[in-house]
Symmetry: C2
Subunit: 512 residues, 2 copies
């Protein structure tokens, strides 16, 4: 271990990380009255969330010239604030950050989120080191600099200087950087811009989050410490991590290995190629390291690596919603032959089996055909192709048979709503059967208009993640399979499953 590396134990001993997400009092240094200024947006977030009763702590705007901001008394410096201050957000020019931190130290501030840019990322290493040393001297924990900081959907902490809406040249107001609803995915990003964009994506796709962290230049708090903290966070079930470089690789490995026993970590590690690595170096000054090395390390500690942005989110949703699979063999049930073929292809390309059903299972289908409950032309060898004649009842029957098959470890449902006899209740019937199994189930409906949105959202009400393309659906299932394999190898499948099922009892909670 290198001398400057901290360890997991260090985190346990003197971590103040909780205060970044849930402080009893917070000051915004550089708060401003002037619209569009970062210091205005950030202080407004707090003032608004306090007004609505979401943020429950004390808030203090700090700047030299104003008497008050948004009805809150403004102070010229941290030292002038009468009460205690646990956390501060710093949004002043980079050259003034050190002075603010010294003030904060004197005042006894525990944690500082340094939004200000102009440090190592533009070659200003001296200033960055100064910040690091002052923080160490006063024992202040620092997130940043050069970051967006934190958004916590439950406590109302929101240090993002990007307002939810933007005013266009026409004067029209448009939703630009919305905050997602409450949920159970934590999103952690080295890139601020990608972080902001991910909030926009997650909001639009109605995927709730617990916490968002953009950690920037990480002079102090690193991705490892954030992961460690999230492991103990009740609201977080799955962690999404966008990263270009990893600081303190050994500590990261130790922490991540510990976390993945109880919570899945999905990583989007960019800078994988020469071109990407050069871009990453320009961007965050990161030396990306060889892709193969990362692949090997991640797989060893159960971190799930995604190849691209949509896979990143697809997998994250899958792992947050569904239990892992206990084997590699899946069943596909579809009312649309073509997408069933596409899903079969995608499974095999990812090393997932779509084996012929056992005689016992095939016989169950054949009996339903004899009784006239299923049409004769339904295919039931795996995939089950209910064809365009599918009804909601047929989906339910097929699900029940397949769920009972011990050789089937997971189920991919492709329910295209376009098929004539399908009405919205087919989702409810599938959801009912799904509630009685611990096998992972993922769903697909293709389309980008009203009923497709409705069907996918309805699936998710039942805790079944739903996707707009067969291949997206298979990405989620593949992650559930490989994570299940990892947990088995690490001898913690059962403990993970127990805790997953406990926290999933109230499925509607996932949707809140």
């Amino acid at each position: 271990m290198l001398a400057h590396e901290s360890t997991i134990n260090d985190y346990d001993h003197y971590s103040k990380v909780e205060l970044f997400f849930n402080p009893n009092s917070i000051a915004v240094v550089g708060a401003s009255k002037h619209i569009n200024k970062a210091g205005n947006v950030i202080f407004s977030n707090f003032a608004e969330n306090k007004r609505r009763g979401i943020f429950k702590g004390e808030i203090y705007p700090i700047n030299l010239k104003d008497e008050s901001i948004l009805g809150h008394r403004c102070y010229p410096s941290l030292r002038k604030v009468p009460g205690n201050i646990e956390a501060i957000v710093i949004v002043v020019p980079s050259k003034s950050v050190s002075d603010v931190l010294r003030d904060a130290g004197t005042k006894g501030v525990s944690v500082a989120i340094v939004i200000s840019a102009g440090f190592g990322e533009v070659g200003n290493d001296q200033l960055e080191n100064e910040v690091k040393n002052i923080a160490k001297e006063f024992g202040i924990r620092i997130l940043g600099p050069n970051c967006l900081g934190v958004f916590d959907s439950y406590t109302g902490v929101d240090t993002l200087f990007l307002p939810e809406t933007k005013v266009l040249k026409t004067g029209d107001v448009m939703v630009a950087t919305p905050r997602p609803m409450q949920g159970n995915i934590a999103m952690v990003s080295q890139s601020g811009a990608f972080g902001a964009a991910s909030l926009d994506y997650l909001t639009g796709r109605q995927i709730g989050i617990s916490k968002f962290v953009s950690f920037g230049n990480k002079v102090d708090v690193s991705e490892a410490e954030i992961l460690h903290y999230l492991n103990h966070d009740d609201k977080t079930r799955a962690i999404l991590l966008y990263i270009e470089s990893i600081t303190h690789g050994r500590t990261f490995m130790d922490v991540a290995k510990d976390v993945t026993k109880s919570k899945p970590i999905v990583v989007l590690k960019s800078g994988r190629t020469k071109a990407g690595a050069r871009a990453a170096e320009s961007h965050t000054g990161s030396i990306s390291g060889a892709s193969a090395v990362y692949d090997a390390a991640f797989s060893q500690i159960g971190v799930i690596r995604s190849d691209n942005m949509s896979e990143f989110f697809n997998i994250g949703k899958g792992l947050a919603f569904q239990p892992p699979a206990q084997g590699r063999n899946v069943a596909i049930i579809t009312d649309a032959g073509g997408p069933g073929v596409m899903a079969s292809d995608a499974c095999e390309l990812r090393g997932i089996d779509v084996k012929l059903f056992s005689d016992e299972t095939i016989n169950k289908f054949e009996k339903l055909k004899e009784k006239g409950i299923l049409p004769n032309f339904v295919q039931n060898r795996n995939p089950v192709d209910l064809t365009g004649s599918a009804t909601s009842e047929m989906f339910e029957k097929a699900m029940s048979i397949v769920v009972a098959d011990n050789e089937v470890n997971g189920i991919i449902v492709i329910g295209l709503h376009h098929v004539p006899a399908i009405q919205e209740d087919f989702v409810d019937r599938i959801g009912k059967v799904a509630a009685g199994t611990i096998k992972p189930i993922v769903a697909c409906d293709i389309g980008e208009t009203e009923m497709a949105f409705y069907v996918r959202s309805r699936f998710e009400k039942f805790g079944i993640p739903a996707y707009p393309a067969p291949e997206d659906t298979v990405q989620a299932m593949a992650a559930l399979v490989s994570y299940g394999e990892y947990l088995q190898k690490a001898n913690c499948f059962d403990s993970y499953l127990d805790s997953f099922l406990t926290r999933s009892v109230n499925k509607i909670d996932i949707q809140k």
Copy 2:
């Protein structure tokens, strides 16, 4: 050549394929008054499109019991219709199809779209052969059976039995299978269900189409003949083909090779794996053939193969909107470092170069920095990272420099709208520079809420295809690069470009 194969020349001599898309008169055999019946939906489509002045031909409902349907006089058989009938849609039970076709033959009908299922796809080969023979005997061209038939956004032909809306159990009406707006992409699908879903996708993503064809069991008209027809269709600029098996491989190769000289063909060929092939065999009775054989064949004749559904549509839009690239080296301009790195990775993984700019180009950027027009911390070696300080003007300047660089063959613009100083006019400024170059340009903005939709749609108003993820954007550019290489090898790059530029003059047309 096998004895039963037709050739390109045959198609030229006696093709009646045009009549499937633009008949002067059409009869719907099996038209019905009863809501939700396929024969009701199809006849209603024609009645409604005629009422609105979109479909301009004569329409005749045919059934034994009704006097009239939707105000149109109904006839008990084709022979009783007083006027001439060029085309018919058959939507009666499979066992009656032969009789209808004999009637049609006597009446002198030229083409028949057989919607009815219950033929080869359920093992009823004898019935399918009978249909084939009657058609040959009377010289009737047949699309189907077991298909959705045709939707033509310009002529108003719409034989889809899936209504645009569905009534839910609650009584609510929801958009379920919408028809896309007019545009320049032809969508051809062997799978009816995937075809219907693709219409839903294309509508929601606001991608206009010229024609939609679902050809089902293809007893007569094959994918090759449809491609040949589309090659001569002015409204079609790019062809999307979903297929599980190819009939008459040699003819397909000849036709496709001819088409790709003037119009790109993007194929999604499923049944690539053993699991997929087994599913395909159950679905369409297709023997899929080895994937490597298809890959080799497609690449030889310039057909672009896509790996999955989203790539299929991403590439299709890219090729319909932008000219092909004249080389493999691209520039990336971004206001978001992370997504710039992601795009760089995706480029290299697809064999696209993101080379360091020439000294000349770098110097141009450095001069702008000296003048204070660009901040000093902007990265300008490729990618160009304008950072979160990006303005609309900075995007325009960077675009102008990069477009002028002879070593750059294409440009990927990543313009995240979340960045503070970016307003909607940055798209207009990029569009203005783009109008002056024949290099392909593709764009990305990440997000699934209001402003992201607006920005992507605004890019497309300028003829620049825009995507919701960096990797999607690179998929489109990769296709523009590889198609450009094919056209150069086939000595038809210049002729393709000429015709592309001519038809692209009125770019707003693409958006109509």
